[in-house]
């Protein structure tokens, strides 16, 4: 089954195309992260998937329904966490969850939800008295209380401290283990890497990459060799093939290359010859962040080119 079908989706505000001919499909159970710089069209795309905005052209189907015309039965199958926290502050966490649970035909028990988002100890606290991270988790709790088949998360961890982010990730992971389809937008590459098994990169309203984190990482740039040099390293004997990669006042070798076989062989030979300790040697693929930055620097067509 395909949970989401987006075909040539476009949204214009005046003569500004915030989303420009975007197409993709999301199979059931997939976790998709929509990434991109500010103004790339992530939230606009998400709001069309959620039914808040009508497309200028193109089509969207979520669970087989046009979201802008989704009835209450359709909305009962959708969960969402908006970009900013949006809760009435006066009631307690438990009272708030009780009210939202009553809207759905088969809600999760409130006690189960409180455990899932790690808010058991704060159940009787007023929402207005919670920290930003705790309130965000209440947002997530409301988003998933109706057992959604598709969950939209719009920057769910923006503004959270690292511990709160990890807790939110755990809540999402617990949910995805039940087969829920998740579409999330985020500015955090590590979040997308951690949660998503697919990345859709938007720039200027258009998709520039639709891939997995592993493939993006592999395609985004060269591999890296990093080696911290001790004070007594015999730099005079350093092979010429490596000498050009000295960094930080000759305290580090940093080599980025499409093929690292030759420089790595030279480095190992040099280290073996001088009996150097290689405990600090790092050899790895390019970082996902580097790959992401490389990808969003690309455009399908140059700006201003007639279509």
């Amino acid at each position: 089954m395909t949970a989401i079908v987006v075909d040539r989706l476009t949204k214009c505000f005046g003569d500004f195309a915030a989303v420009d001919g975007v197409s993709f499909e999301v199979p059931d159970g997939q976790v998709v992260a929509v990434l991109g710089p500010n103004g790339a069209g992530k939230t606009t795309t998400l709001e069309m998937l959620e039914g808040f905005l009508a497309p200028t052209s193109g089509t969207v189907r979520v669970l087989g329904t046009d979201p802008h015309r989704g009835d209450r039965r359709w909305r009962a199958r959708i969960g969402l966490v908006l970009q900013s926290t949006s809760l009435d502050a006066e009631l307690t966490v438990r009272e708030t969850l009780d009210v939202f649970a009553g809207l759905y035909p088969t809600p999760r028990p409130v006690g189960e939800i409180l455990e899932l988002v790690d808010l058991v100890d704060d159940a009787e606290a007023r929402v207005g008295a919670l920290s930003g991270g705790q309130r965000r988790r209440v947002d997530v709790a409301i988003g998933i209380i109706g057992r959604p088949e598709v969950l939209f998360l719009d920057e769910p961890t923006t503004g959270l401290d690292p511990e709160a982010r990890r807790r939110a990730w755990t809540a999402v992971e617990n949910l995805t283990a039940t087969g829920t389809t998740v579409v999330l937008t985020t500015h955090y590459i590590d979040e997308a890497d951690h949660l998503a098994n697919r990345l859709v990169l938007l720039t200027a309203g258009q998709i520039v990459a639709d891939t997995t984190p592993e493939v993006l990482r592999a395609q985004g740039g060269p591999a890296t060799i990093r080696y911290r040099l001790g004070g007594g390293a015999p730099l005079a004997d350093l092979p010429l093939t490596l000498a050009g990669y000295l960094e930080h006042d000759n305290h580090e070798l940093l080599i980025r290359a499409e093929d690292i076989t030759a420089p790595l062989r030279d480095l190992l030979g040099w280290a073996h010859l001088h009996d150097l300790d290689l405990a600090g040697l790092e050899v790895g693929p390019p970082s996902l962040e580097d790959a992401y930055l490389a990808a969003i620097g690309q455009r399908p067509i140059p700006e201003g080119t007639p279509s």
Binding site: S23, D88, Y104, A209
Partner: protein, 304 residues
Amino acid sequence: MTDTAPATAARMPSVGRLLAAQISYQARLLASGRAITIGVGLPVILLIASHSSQTHTDAADIAGYAAFGLTMTAWNTYGVRLVAAREAGVLKRWRATPLPHWCYFLGRILATVGVAVLAGAATVAAGVLLYGSHLSVSGTLAALVALMLGALAWAATATALTAAIPTIEAAAPTFMLTYFPVIIISSTLGGISEPHWLSTIASYLPAQPLVHALSSSLGHTPGHALLPGRDLVVLAAWSIAGLAAAVATFRWEPHRPTQQRPARALYQPKPDDQSPPSSTMISVGPERLSPRHAATGRVGMPSR
């Protein structure tokens, strides 16, 4: 799918139950705020303060202070809170739930009517208890009708006005500026000397008919109408017009700040666009895809 499917097959909660729950929820929100303390407490304090050397007061005075408490709740408190909820994204959040939109809308208004009637009734009760004002059963029932219709008129009109208020910062000044002049020219807190034309205008606004209807109920004497028909018609007209305008103009979403954005080429839809994917498009390897997508090796179709 595992435990996410039942929503499609299970029965949705009944609309009646949802509406009742929404009224209860909204009433709790309204009653838990400090503003309700003002709506109930301030009129009673003013009633006592303005009659500190008297042992009696008349029905018109009690009606005026009761209308003051009611309108503070149904206009200022309700209206400002509604704008605040909209700008904070609370309304947008509710709009995305399975709750019918009209159910949220009506629940919020009816809860406000209930709490505002309570605020007005508290002042009437204070007048009866402190000054020994006589109140018959028929007068009580008629006063309740006047309070309910008055609260609905003010709350419905406030709902309509929220569409014209762009920010939470503008909400309180807007509601105050549209409130106090009406209250004053309607002689709600005591008679003032005003020209006839101003008094005529006031008789078509929702404050004076409310005070008049309430006063007639509380000070009812045989041979006079419990509820003057003209006042009820004016209040009903404001209720209907307010609801109609609210339905036509109500905003669920916060106002978006206007931004100067760089011009971008406008997308030209190309229904017959069968062009191959762009060479710069990064596509996923087929080994990671569902069978449906594996044939093409792509899960997304680049637009150009």
